[in-house]
């Protein structure tokens, strides 16, 4: 096979897979199933290869067995304790045994324990700065200008900024009040706040949905670009024209 044909064959396989997977939009069929299973098989096979080649070999095996000195690399002694990780990892596979699946709970428990232990620190690193940044000034410190100028005075809080901060505070409190389900409230003010909070949440969800739609459209546009521009326009037509 001529080597210059390889890129177009590669693109053609990609196009066939795209058409095969998009055929589900018409209806689910054996044609679609074939490509779905092929994709799953390829992904699983590649994952096994990558896990060994890019992760386990360098991170575990080489450290366990060590290496002799060669060009530019000093000798590294092996550290036998890494071998203990193998039985712990193998235990996880007992999940498929009806009789011994309790063994799989040992590595799962270790992972859960490690994960749980980190959560306090993780939670605060994630939300601490957000809580801190929610503490916004509600009183102006200057009336020299109403709207915040392009080059504001250092540390000054302008009236327009305060209005923005009040809107932020109202949104924050209203949205949070919506989630107070534990007790019944008869206060009109509080009920108004929860209703307002619900509206604001809906607006937020709408914005999130819009952004999600943008992603879905982009993924489809990219596939169309691959099929019609990369394959047909840039690959197939020049190849046919060249001959």
């Amino acid at each position: 096979m001529q080597s210059e044909s390889y890129p177009i064959i590669k693109l053609f396989v990609g196009v066939a897979c795209t058409v095969g997977l998009y055929s589900v939009l018409y209806r689910e069929s054996k044609f679609y199933r074939f490509f779905e299973h092929m994709f799953l098989g390829l992904a699983a096979g590649w994952a096994m290869f990558a896990l060994w080649g890019e992760t386990l070999k360098s991170t575990w095996w080489d450290r366990m067995v060590g290496s002799v000195a060669d060009e530019g690399n000093p000798a590294v002694p092996g550290y036998w304790a890494w071998a203990f990780l193998l039985p712990i990892g193998v235990m996880a596979y007992f999940v498929v045994s009806k009789k011994h699946n309790w063994i799989s709970r040992i590595p799962i428990g270790i992972i859960l324990g490690l994960w749980s232990g980190q959560q306090v620190q993780v939670w605060f690193t994630r939300y601490g700065p957000q809580m801190q940044s929610s503490m916004k000034p509600l009183f102006p410190t200057t009336w020299s200008e109403f709207i915040t100028p392009l080059q504001p005075e250092a540390g000054a809080v302008y009236p327009a900024q305060v209005i923005g901060n009040l809107v932020f505070l109202l949104t924050l409190l209203s949205a949070m009040s919506y989630f107070l389900f534990s007790f019944e409230t008869k206060s009109k003010l509080f009920n108004g706040m929860t209703t307002w909070g619900r509206w604001l949440l809906m607006i937020g969800f709408g914005a999130i949905f819009g952004s999600t739609v943008m992603t879905r459209f982009t993924l489809m546009i990219d596939r169309m670009y691959f099929v019609f521009i990369e394959f047909f326009q840039q690959g197939l037509i020049p190849l046919i024209g060249g001959r």
Partner: protein, 309 residues
Amino acid sequence: MANDKTIWEKLQAIDRRVLYTLLMVIATVSLFFKVNVPTKPGQPTKDLYRLLVDADALPEGSTVILQSDWTQSTRGESAGQMEALLRILMRRNIKFALLSVADPQAPLVARNVIRAINLERKAKNQREYQVWEDYVNLGYFPNAEGTSNAIAANFKTAVAGRKETPPGSTTPLDVFQSPVLAKVSKVEDVPVYINVTGSKTSNILIERLGGRVPFAALVTGVMGPETLNYYQSGQVKGVAIGLNGVAEMESLMEKGLEESGKPPVQSFAGETNYGRGMAYYLALHTCLVLMIVAVVVGNVAMVAARKKK
């Protein structure tokens, strides 16, 4: 009977396959028009551009960590982001250490983009980015949480054992012997940690590395709204969201950035700046118009059909 249906009822019952076909046709036709749709970059993208291009934030020749956590499943958004990012890094001679935590396919996909951008540079007689000298591939690390913790605790230990083959050699050497990581022993030694992601690994990085290193994220439209919370609180210094973010980045690369009270940031005018982002941007707009029209028609038809009854 079907024939008794009014036009309004028929409009509400358009077969989904008709809409899918219409969508694909509109997207495909739009792709053949090379139009640079005008865009006004948002502040998150401007801050990202300033972080990447401003010499004070990221000095020329310095090393960044580039965590690439996307595969072909989000190519539409992430490939454009990665291409724009690499163009900037390569033009500014910024070295990068590439790693992935989200998917075993991610390192291969990232290497393909590096190869494509290198080919683009070669065609323009520009210096190609060399593995070892300009970038190293640290490979795939399973378990995003564990890896991020390890990087936070001790970067050198976290990536110990990873090797890369210098050009002209056949023997892989430890990545810390390369010029890329020669001066990096902990994560705080890099001026920026960049995450191009098709999943939520940006959140995991913020949780584990928060406050240690300036963090930049290029995320999908799905993750965008969530990531903006971290941008507002300063946990992320700059964000590009989805295809819109790519188009904004490309526009900034072409025109540069001028903001009141801040020093201007250079453009890369004359280079290949408009790429995948602008190529898809018109199609995105036409698809969104179709969706809006479909929603309006569906609702008008519903109201009209109810009034008829």
